[in-house]
């Protein structure tokens, strides 16, 4: 079978795999888009919401949380949680910025934060599997201690500047900066964070659905004992999901640091909640075993569109957390109702 025919089939199967919760999210997402489109049109007199600039803007904003939501989906699928991603993002961002200021070069500034992300994930995984510490507690430890580390390696809490222009490509570049793509209409304006986001989604979703690893993750979340008795190394799966979450946080850290042109020890504060919210709104069950990467992306986009729309409408920003809270509570309620219905 040629690549050309497999790709649409993959998409078809992915859509077929979404359950009613995700269709509901998709429906609400599209509904919000329509509502915001007409509201902004009416209020501002121009299509401020569905415009090329704004669509690209929203996706770019969502990419930071969305990438982490891909990793978090794996973690929540096995009925664990990772509360450390926001603080880990700050530490990885600080390391990247400090390396940049020390002229350590582009490669080191990218690889070392990624390494720290993976190592942190593996460490958490070890605490959870061999240490038998609930992931809620283990990653709460990361949340607190990594924030401290980020502040300690900063200069009295001040952001770290002095980033080389070459590093800015990651967060602020567009495809048009790539030699050979500069003249292609549309393509040239796509920001690099969106490209990275797309790659992470593609890899995350394909591994989730088409690789044995993804199936084993689902099995561990559905019934860890059955998975173990089937010869699946449950500990290895859990180590892996935390490592994946760690590397996703590091990727987001690189984008954010590059985009802000500095490393801030306070970046990513409470971001773990946004990430978990995206995953839960996307239909992944906090009890494990049911969910999908694409659902989480949908969840992240829904929350992103909500923030963006409220911003464009110049709604008092203090309303935003309230609205977000209602959306998340509704998603968890639907999950509960669905579970009761299935039992």
């Amino acid at each position: 079978m040629s690549k050309l025919t497999t790709q649409p089939m993959l998409l078809g199967r992915s859509l077929a795999r979404l359950d009613w919760r995700q269709y509901l999210t998709l429906f609400i997402f599209l509904g919000l888009c329509v509502v915001f489109h007409f509201l902004t049109l009416w209020k501002l007199g121009r299509p401020a919401f569905i415009s090329q600039v704004n669509v690209i803007n929203v996706i770019r904003q969502v990419s930071i949380v969305g990438i982490m939501a891909v990793g978090m989906t794996y973690v929540i699928m096995v009925a664990e949680i990772d509360l450390g991603v926001g603080s880990l993002l700050a530490v990885c961002g600080m390391i990247a910025a400090l390396l940049q200021r020390a002229d350590a070069g582009l490669l080191a500034s990218i690889l070392l934060p990624l390494l720290v992300g993976v190592a942190t994930g593996l460490f958490v995984g070890l605490l959870v599997t061999y240490g038998r510490i609930p992931s809620f507690v283990a990653t709460l430890g990361v949340l607190a201690s990594y924030r401290g580390i980020a502040l300690l390696i900063s200069n009295r809490g001040q952001p770290v500047t002095g980033i080389d222009p070459s590093f800015r490509f990651i967060g602020a570049g567009v495809l048009g900066d790539v030699p050979g793509l500069a003249s292609i209409p549309f393509i040239k304006v796509i920001p690099i964070p969106i490209v990275i986001f797309a790659v992470v989604i593609a890899v995350g979703a394909i591994v989730f659905q088409r690789y044995p690893f993804g199936r084993h993750v689902a099995a561990v979340g559905g019934n860890a004992t059955a998975a173990r008795l089937s010869g699946i190394n449950v500990r290895a799966i859990k180590l892996a999901v935390f490592a994946i979450s760690g590397i996703c946080a590091a990727i987001s850290a690189l984008i954010l640091t590059s985009r802000l042109n500095m490393g801030s020890p306070l970046s990513g504060t409470t971001m773990e909640l946004d990430v978990i919210a995206a995953v839960v709104v996307g239909g992944t069950s906090l009890y494990g075993g049911r969910g999908s990467v694409l659902g989480s992306i949908l969840g992240a986009m829904l929350i992103g569109v909500l923030s963006n729309g409220l911003n464009l409408m110049a709604v008092n920003p203090h309303w935003q957390p309230v609205v977000k809270g209602v959306v998340i509570a509704t998603a968890v309620l639907l999950d509960q109702l669905g579970r009761r219905h299935e039992e």
């Binding site: 690789y211 099995a219 559905g222 004992t225 059955a226 008795l229 089937s230 010869g231 699946i232």
Partner: protein, 258 residues
Amino acid sequence: MAENTPLVEMRNIYKSFGGVHAVEDVTIDLFAGEVVGLVGHNGAGKSTLIKMLSGAYTADSGKIFIDGREVTINNPRDARKYGIETIYQTLALADNLDAPANIFLGRELMRSGYLLNDDAMEAASREVLDRLRLNLPSVKEKVVNLSGGQRQAVAIGRAIYFNAKILIMDEPTAALGPEETAQVGELIHQLKKEGLGIFLISHDLHDVFDLSDRVSVLKNGALVGTVHTADVTKDDVLAMIIAGKLPEVATTPKSAQA
């Protein structure tokens, strides 16, 4: 294989959990085409004993022989390597996955080396479930939505697809109604005819007596004895279970006679 070489022999097996001696110096065996019932009260050590054969636990001491050769079974993978498959009363299936995903869990069929081949797994599952005369409306249904008998058939399907030689069934009918229990009984007859050796475990003698060629009785972690069901009555075996008393005609494990 020599006539008197057992398919499985577990010899002088010990296992404790903390201070609890769950299994103490137990020796049992099983021949091809034979069903051996493993009975005893709840907590007698049946599951613990059998989990050392299926690789869920490792023995504190004792030896396991397959076809007369000593083997080491450290995990379920090792057990499968020797053709040992286990069907558990509960906890056996991932409810959130469909029948093919469960049948092939841990040893998925692949395409181009590293991608799941869902189509092939679906087709093979249909075939094996047909052989068990299980008609599912759709094999893509999550097993959480199947009946107890259907779930048990999926579990058995998983075992026979991979050409199990030795089948362990731990309370296979405990969660089933009478009709479904009869179905599983038929399945056991069929598998036996195909030459499999089956350990059938139950705390209720009535579930296994008629299906078994021999029964081994456990009490408080120790083996009371092993008898041919043709030589004894149900009451004899009940006395073994309750009082730990061996009837006159009791036999030792077959292999120990030779």
